[in-house]
């Protein structure tokens, strides 16, 4: 097993009275794709948003337990949240390019971090778009509006936007949910490349996708982590009856 990048310990989280995660404990190994899957409302998105503290601004929530990144509690007082979010990037379900050109979108993160040197920014744009497998398609129109790209291209642009910060961890929340099979395939290929360098946590948009890309898989049901183990084991030989029912299509 790879090194542990993220460790989640007894994590319980609720929005008001509604419990979203119930005593979740799991490890996320480095340089691998960990798939977090299960029926809607299972707490997958909440889990992702807790790993880079995007839920901080939501009022009326309660949390107990710990989330450790490289062994350090990211909810400990004095944690630099901005630095954390630079280390833990996120791609959302809907491709959401920011207003502006393709280039500006990729430059957003580095610019927010204070990078102004044009040569450095140019280098980041080329590298990020290449890593996101988008460079060849957009290299001649970097200064055109990002909104003119197709859905699949926009999603890879969002991926490039996150990669521009060279994060250590990439959180992907159903990044292919709105995309056609070809675009989906391209993104999955990209993820295989990226896991050499990044730790990836993916909420897949189908069980098939989960099975295709998972090095490790965690099955969530109504806020509870039913089981987690290496993907080839979980999808061929699930330990829990509920997991088996879900992946064989008996419910979901």
């Amino acid at each position: 097993m790879n090194d542990i990048k993220i460790r989640i310990e007894n994590l319980t989280y609720s929005y008001g009275d509604k419990v979203a995660l119930r005593d979740v404990t799991m490890d996320i190994p480095a340089n691998a794709i960990t798939v977090v899957f299960g029926p809607a409302g299972g707490g997958k998105t909440t889990l992702l948003r807790l790993i880079n503290r995007l839920n901080d601004l939501i009022e009326g929530t309660r949390m107990s337990g710990r989330v450790l990144l490289d062994g350090k509690d990211i909810y400990a007082p004095g944690t630099d949240v901005i630095d954390l979010r630079r280390r833990v990037g996120m791609v959302f379900a809907l491709p959401l390019p920011l207003p502006g050109t393709i280039r500006e979108n990729v430059e957003y993160g580095p610019r927010l971090a204070g990078i102004r040197d044009p040569a450095r920014l140019e280098e980041i744009v080329v590298r990020s778009l290449t890593q996101a497998a988008l460079w060849d398609e957009v290299k001649d129109r970097l200064d055109t509006p990002a909104s003119a790209l197709s859905g699949g291209q926009q999603q890879r642009l969002c991926l490039a936007r996150s990669l521009a910060l060279e994060p250590e961890v990439l959180l992907l929340d159903e990044p292919t949910s709105g995309l056609d099979p070809i675009s989906t395939g391209r993104i999955e290929e990209t993820l295989f490349e990226l896991k050499q360098r990044y730790t990836i946590v993916l909420v897949p948009h189908s069980i098939q996708q989960a099975a295709r890309v998972a090095d490790y898989a965690a099955f969530f049901l109504m806020g509870e982590l039913v089981e987690w183990q290496p993907g080839d084991l979980l999808f061929t030989n699930p330990r829990d009856r509920r997991t088996e029912d879900y992946i064989t299509g008996r419910f979901g």
Binding site: N52, L96, L98, P99, S147, S162
Partner: protein, 282 residues
Amino acid sequence: MNRRYLVQRVGFALLGLAALLVVVPILLVVGTIIARGAAAVNWEFLTAMPRDGMKAGGILPAIVGTLLLTLGTALAAIPVGVGGAIYLAEYARDTWLTRLIRLAIINLAGIPSVVYGLFGLGLFVLFLQFGTSILAGSLTLAIMTLPVIISTAEEALRAVPTEFRTVILSLGGTRWQAVRYVVLPQAMPGIITGVILGLLRAAGETAPILFTVAAFYLPRLPRSPFDPTMALPYHLYVISTQVPGMPEEIKYGTALVLLALVLSMNVVATLIRSYYRRRREW
């Protein structure tokens, strides 16, 4: 003919009539003012001082006064109004304090303008000793304008999808950076609309400037923010009711200039707004 079609036709006719009724008074007002006032408006009217007890000469000090008052109002009301709106839309949590602020805004909007005038007289002219001055008048108008600016700007900010803010945060940006680089530019058309609506109202008001800045007859241009000045709405009021034997076309000419000023500000606002809207991409 089918009965339901008949009902529909009658319905549309009535609705159309209602829509037409909105247009008629505007056309009548504008038409009358142009017809009776256009003859009075010439170069001298726009650029000269009033003479002969305002029965001759021009209305330059009133035009300049109204422009200065609008500028002063903008300078005071825009930073406070837009700043307050950003706070309410982006930062404020739902506490008793924010609820109090919202209540205050709603109530400010409901206060009659003459009360603002008296308030301005008490606070700015007398207590703070600004005297009857452009400064006092601008501040009074600014307070009257604030609720319009704050509520429209807040609405415009809230209309920007939350996801943009989330994306900026996820890229290691602060909330302020999200506001500064994404939310504010996206909300700009709506904010500008609110600002212009507020300023237009301020430019045409008489009561708030009555006690705080307006001079009955002052045939010279103001030299400092502490000078009083003539202003178009008040001048119109004065020559229409306080000066016997005032030639009709001067009254209508003054009204025409005020109307043209306000409408041209409106046009400028529309241009700015459509410029920003074209750059928006969602």
